[in-house]
């Protein structure tokens, strides 16, 4: 929104310009990318891949020989491995789906990985957040909203994934993702997070996947979605005067570090509690 305001405010600055440029990237160093997802349904998947030079077209660099362990704390507070057995299945890059694991709200979880090059990585210990139940999905003033009761005083973080279909579910219209903290609706019984969208149908079918996130997962998603927006946000070369005030670009670092050096690696151990709601929205 800020960018939008800034863009509009800079109407007068018609002398600005954008040039497409070629860049040199002599400082490229290959890095691992680790994205592990664990949710309250017991679903766990881990993707390990490597970055490639910006000039290389292929990004199919999945790593299929990593040793992975999922840890938790038992009731005595001791570290306990939940699973270290992953079935390998290659989808796009290397995926490690498992059969369902048992999780509980408030439980502490973390992952460890070892690659064949001897480097090992560990995520920060994350607490499984409390599930939030969505009471309604509404379309208000061009905004698709997930409405729910926010827990008071606790800092809460949400990711809403809307999948919009025609009313008869004959076809998918679009998907929307939005993340938010609860600063503006802490404890509100009709709290909502939403995304602007315009749909020409008078009614349609919405599948909502509502996730409560940990703080670090929320921060990761914010930056992750910002980078997606940057990719999808413009399709011409006119540029955007709002760039005058944009944030410097950042790497998608999260809560996983290299064990020995403590260096952050790209990716995140995302932990979330999921609730779902499907509804016809008028």
């Amino acid at each position: 929104m800020k960018t939008r305001i800034l863009l509009c405010c800079l109407i007068a600055l018609i002398w600005g310009c954008v040039d497409k440029v070629a860049i040199k990237n002599e400082k490229f160093t290959q890095q691992p990318v680790v994205v592990a997802e664990l949710n309250s349904n017991g679903y766990l998947r881990v993707q390990v891949s490597l970055t490639t030079n910006i000039d290389e077209e292929s990004t199919n660099t999945g790593v299929d020989d990593a040793n992975i362990r999922l840890w938790t704390k038992n009731s005595a507070g001791e570290d306990k491995i939940i699973t270290d057995s992953f079935d390998y299945e290659k989808v796009d890059n290397a995926y490690y789906p498992t059969s369902s694991v048992e999780t509980k709200e408030g439980g502490i979880y973390w992952v460890e990985l070892e690659l064949s090059n001897g480097l090992s990585y560990v995520s920060r210990q994350e607490k499984m957040p409390t599930t939030v139940e969505v009471s309604d999905i509404a379309y208000v003033r061009s905004e698709l909203r997930a409405i729910f009761q926010d827990e008071k005083d606790e800092p809460n973080y949400y990711l809403a994934e809307f999948s919009v279909y025609y009313r008869d579910q004959s076809a998918f219209i679009r998907g929307l993702k939005v993340v938010s903290n609860d600063i503006l609706f802490d404890g509100n019984e009709k709290a909502y997070i939403g995304e602007y969208t315009t749909i020409s149908e008078s009614s349609y079918y919405v599948e909502l996947n509502m996730q409560s996130l940990s703080n670090s997962s929320y921060l990761f998603y914010r930056n992750f979605l910002e980078q997606e927006d940057l990719n999808e946000g413009f399709d011409d070369e006119e540029g955007d005067p709002g760039w005058l005030f944009s944030k410097p670009p950042i790497n998608l670092y999260g809560n996983i570090t290299e064990k020995e050096s403590g260096k952050k690696v790209l990716g995140q151990f995302i932990i979330s509690s999921i609730s779902q709601k499907n509804q016809i929205v008028e």
């Binding site: 929104m1 939008r4 509009c8 405010c9 109407i11 007068a12 600055l13 002398w15 600005g16 310009c17 954008v18 040039d19 497409k20 860049i23 400082k27 490229f28 994205v35 891949s49 970055t51 490639t52 030079n53 077209e57 990004t59 890059n93 003033r141 061009s142 905004e143 909203r145 800092p155 679009r174 600063i183 503006l184 802490d186 509100n188 009709k190 709290a191 997070i193 939403g194 602007y196 969208t197 315009t198 020409s200 921060l219 990719n231 946000g233 399709d235 070369e237 005067p241 760039w243 005058l244 005030f245 944009s246 944030k247 670009p249 790497n251 670092y253 403590g262 260096k263 952050k264 790209l266």
Partner: protein, 835 residues
């Protein structure tokens, strides 16, 4: 009654300290009930003991309109002894009994000689006459006595409004900020961004004061123009180093702006019409020689043309204005009162009709909503100053001031426009408020010795956000107000010994972060995050949450190699108790200020600078500096600074250093005049978190956003005829550091970018040429007004100097763009008159 007592008390102390015929005796000490302090002994040592009887000549120096002159010199004819006038035009010169011929001079004015028979204390006000034909195009040379009287400070630039006006500028509008950027040691992130960086310091490390009261946002139109109208300025001084002890609260520089007092003889003024805005300055007497006023106003008007740009923006308003005012009242020879104020605002009221697509999707829609966003930010200051002469040697300036910066974002719409997750109409207010009290005494011990002392007290109140919302799903939200109190007693001893002079200052600053507030305490084994809070504590109103303090020594030494050559050394430490928290390329009006407190320490900046200066027809300067920054505040990658109750979780402690050498060359004589300066400097930072994983670039040093190793500026002025003159300006600078795409990876079929370490790359080098011509109006006899046309071209050859670089994937292709705020030649014309 108490005032009279204070007068007598201070006058008595003055007498005791100063009267060289009456050394302090045990009798005096006993009568006053205190023992002479070490400071008094230093004074006595410095001032020496004279057998001959002395008397004091004092008064004010003004120009022929009654405007006081800052830095005018009063010297004996043999140039052996003399003083300069202070910020209020006051001087005090103590000499031996007898006849003295004095020369009073000020650059641009005719020297005056006066023979004084000094057999008692004398009050003498002096009005200097302007040079008969003071050409704007020619900078007059400082006289020898002015050179002799110059302050022994390294890193001080005195800027004249006339110099600001001569520099070719964007749209022809003379601009203080742009001029400052042409001086050595100053850089910025780039064109169109707010603020400036002094010797490796952040933009929040500049104390910008207008008549002693601080300003928090120095730019109109997001950073393109200064908020100060040059027509209203009497004097500008930029302290980059050797900052006097009377200034404090910021780490790197002080920009001391003094507004004109105005004409106390008759009505006069300046006016101008430009492409972007018009301005008018008026001053005159309300009661001749007693009470006079100055009013200066500007207003932009490009929004007037919005209806011509189509329906989309016809109801929008984008403009700014500012108003500077001053009232000066000479109550009697011992008392003068100044009331001054500044008020400026930027207004962006944007209306969109219902047909506009508010989504990021390509779908067409008929349900989009009307929207109106009203965003405005304002600076306001009010200053009341009382000049009082306790005696002809003890001068007081008592300042009380108020400063407020606030912004309001209001959305009265169907569609909303708030932060992620919000909708509906809302209003968002934020403000910074300061109250200042500063009694500042100057004791003129002798022509060689001056002592300045006082106390600087400032209260801070930061109200980060108050949001009111009509939507039932969104709370009315108010982030806690943060308060701080800063108190700093200070003293400076200025001493001259033949060719050697010194300003030895000390400032002790105390800062308290004051409740009410809720403080979060974090698990120290983990990085600070909202989920690592282990305890909270509520502080009541008036509770001191955390206190800081420190001694800030300031030393400036000057050794005169000759009448025109100086060696200078400056050493200073500056503590800064408030931080600007921003992670955008250019500072924004809604950036947050954060006081030092439980989790954020005060910034500690130490600097040593030394230089060689030579004045004359061709003058040159060489100045080198080294500076360290401790307890800087930097932001985490991807920090969420927007409405954050626990801002400390997004910040990292940092330290840094800067060093550089500044070379300057000026030619002030002949038809061709100009300035050239070149600065080589580096500015590096590193984060110092105890949690290694959150340090930027793994804790290694990285270049600051404004680290530009090479900066060269050249300005040349040449009179083409009696009426027409040419001004040119050329700059060449190393491109600023950036973070850049270096790799890519894929997740779930989508591609993402791997970036370099922070600021590992640089944008292309920056260069630009500006040209302007000033055509003066024809001189006609008995004509009481003068004027000129200014026209030219900014960015003559249309260089697109990049400010930011972004990459994205589009159709599988990685594309990279450079954005330049100004990418084309911009012609301009303006008409200026004085009357």
């Amino acid at each position: 009654m108490s005032g009279m007592f204070l007068d007598k008390f201070l006058a008595l102390i003055t007498q005791i300290i100063l009267n060289r015929t009456q050394m302090i005796t045990p009798t005096h000490t006993n009568r006053l009930g205190f023992k002479p302090s070490i400071f008094v002994f230093i004074l006595l040592f410095c001032s020496g003991v004279y057998a001959q009887k002395t008397f004091t000549l004092s008064g004010t120096i003004t120009d022929d309109t009654g405007e006081s002159l800052i830095g005018a010199t009063v010297y004996t004819q043999d140039k052996s002894r003399g003083v300069i006038s202070n910020e209020y035009g006051f001087y005090s010169l103590t000499l031996e009994e007898g006849s003295h011929t004095l020369v009073i001079s000020f650059i641009g004015f005719l020297d005056q000689e006066k023979t004084i028979n000094l057999n008692s204390d004398i009050s003498l006000n002096i009005a200097l006459q302007t040079e008969a034909e003071q050409l704007n195009e020619v900078v007059l040379l400082a006289s020898d006595q002015e050179n002799k009287a110059r302050t022994p400070l390294a890193g001080v630039s005195k800027i004249k409004a006339s110099d600001v006006k001569r520099l070719p500028s964007l749209l022809g509008e003379a601009d203080v900020n742009r001029y400052i950027l042409t001086t050595p040691g100053i850089t910025s992130v780039g064109e169109g961004t707010s603020g400036f960086n002094v010797r490796g310091g952040g933009i929040d490390q500049n104390l910008i004061i207008i008549d002693e009261t601080p300003l928090y946002n120095s730019s109109h139109l997001w950073g393109f123009f200064s908020i100060i109208n040059p027509d209203a300025i009497k004097n500008l001084e930029l302290y980059k180093g050797g900052i006097p002890a009377r200034f404090g609260g910021r780490g790197s520089s002080v920009l001391d702006i003094r507004l004109k007092e105005g004409n106390n003889k008759g009505i006069s003024g300046d006016a101008g019409i430009g492409m972007l805005f018009s301005r008018l300055t008026l001053s005159g007497p309300i009661k001749k020689d007693k009470l006079n006023f100055m009013v200066s106003a500007r207003r932009s008007y490009f929004d007037v043309f919005f209806p011509l740009l189509g329906d989309e923006v016809e109801n929008s308003k984008v403009y700014f204005y500012d108003l500077s005012t001053k009232l000066s009242w000479k109550i009697n020879p011992r008392n003068t009162l100044y009331a001054s104020g500044y008020f400026g605002a930027d207004v962006m009221k944007l209306s969109f009709d219902a047909e506009e697509d508010l989504t990021q999707n390509n779908n067409t829609n008929t349900e989009s909503a009307d929207e109106e966003i009203d965003f405005r930010w304002k600076n306001a200051t009010a200053t009341l100053r009382w000049n009082h002469l306790f005696s002809n040697k003890l001068f007081l300036n008592m300042t009380t001031g108020f400063s407020r910066y606030n912004y309001t974002l209001r959305s009265e719409n169907d569609a909303g426009g708030g932060p992620a997750g919000t909708s509906g109409s809302f209003t968002w207010n934020s403000s910074i408020t300061n109250w200042i009290v500063k009694p500042d005494f100057t004791l003129y011990v002798s022509p060689e010795t001056k002592v300045r002392f006082g106390v600087h007290a400032i209260s801070h109140e930061f109200a980060p956000a108050k949001i009111t919302n009509t939507d039932e799903g969104i709370n009315n939200t108010k982030l806690p107000i943060e308060k701080g109190l800063e108190v700093a007693p200070y003293a400076t001893l200025n001493q001259k010994w033949n060719n050697f002079s010194m300003a030895l200052g000390v400032r002790y600053s105390w800062f308290g972060n004051i409740g009410p507030s809720t403080v979060y305490y974090y698990d120290k084994t983990q990085p600070k995050a909202s989920n690592s809070v282990i305890n909270t504590k509520n502080f009541k109103k008036g509770d001191i949450i955390k206190r800081f303090g420190g001694v800030e020594p300031r030393l400036a030494l000057n050794y005169k190699l000759s009448e025109k050559e100086d060696l200078k050394l400056g050493i200073d430490r500056n503590l800064q108790y408030i931080h600007l928290v921003s992670n955008t390329t250019g500072a924004l009006p809604f950036d947050t200020w954060k006081p030092a407190g439980e989790h954020i320490d005060p910034l500690d900046v130490r600097q040593i600078s030394m230089g060689y200066h030579k004045t004359g027809g061709i003058g040159y300067t060489v100045e080198a500096f080294y500076k360290t920054f401790d307890q800087l505040v930097d932001y985490k990658d991807g920090a969420d600074l927007f409405i954050n109750k626990q801002l400390e979780t997004e910040l990292l402690p940092a330290s840094g250093f800067a060093y550089g050498i500044e070379l300057g060359l000026t030619k002030d004589t002949g038809k061709l005049t100009g300035r050239f300066n070149y600065t080589f400097s580096r500015s590096k930072r590193k984060t110092t978190s105890t949690h290694k994983s959150e340090n930027i670039n793994d804790g290694a040093y990285y270049s600051s956003n404004f680290d530009r190793p090479h900066v060269g500026n050249l300005s040349v002025n040449y009179p083409l005829s009696k009426r027409l003159s040419l001004q040119t300006f050329f700059t060449y600078q190393t491109g600023r550091p950036i973070t850049q795409a270096i790799g890519r990876f894929s997740l779930a079929g989508k591609e993402y970018i791997q970036y370099s370490e922070r600021n590992a790359y640089r944008l292309p080098n920056v260069h630009r040429l500006d040209i302007s011509f000033i055509l003066k109006s024809k001189n006609k006899k008995r004509r009481t007004k003068s004027g000129n046309w200014t026209f030219g071209v900014y960015n003559v050859y249309g260089r697109a100097n990049a400010l930011t670089r972004f990459s994205n994937f589009y159709m599988g292709e990685l594309r990279t763009f450079d954005f330049s705020p100004v990418g084309a030649p911009i012609p301009f014309i303006s008409k200026n008159i004085s009357f």
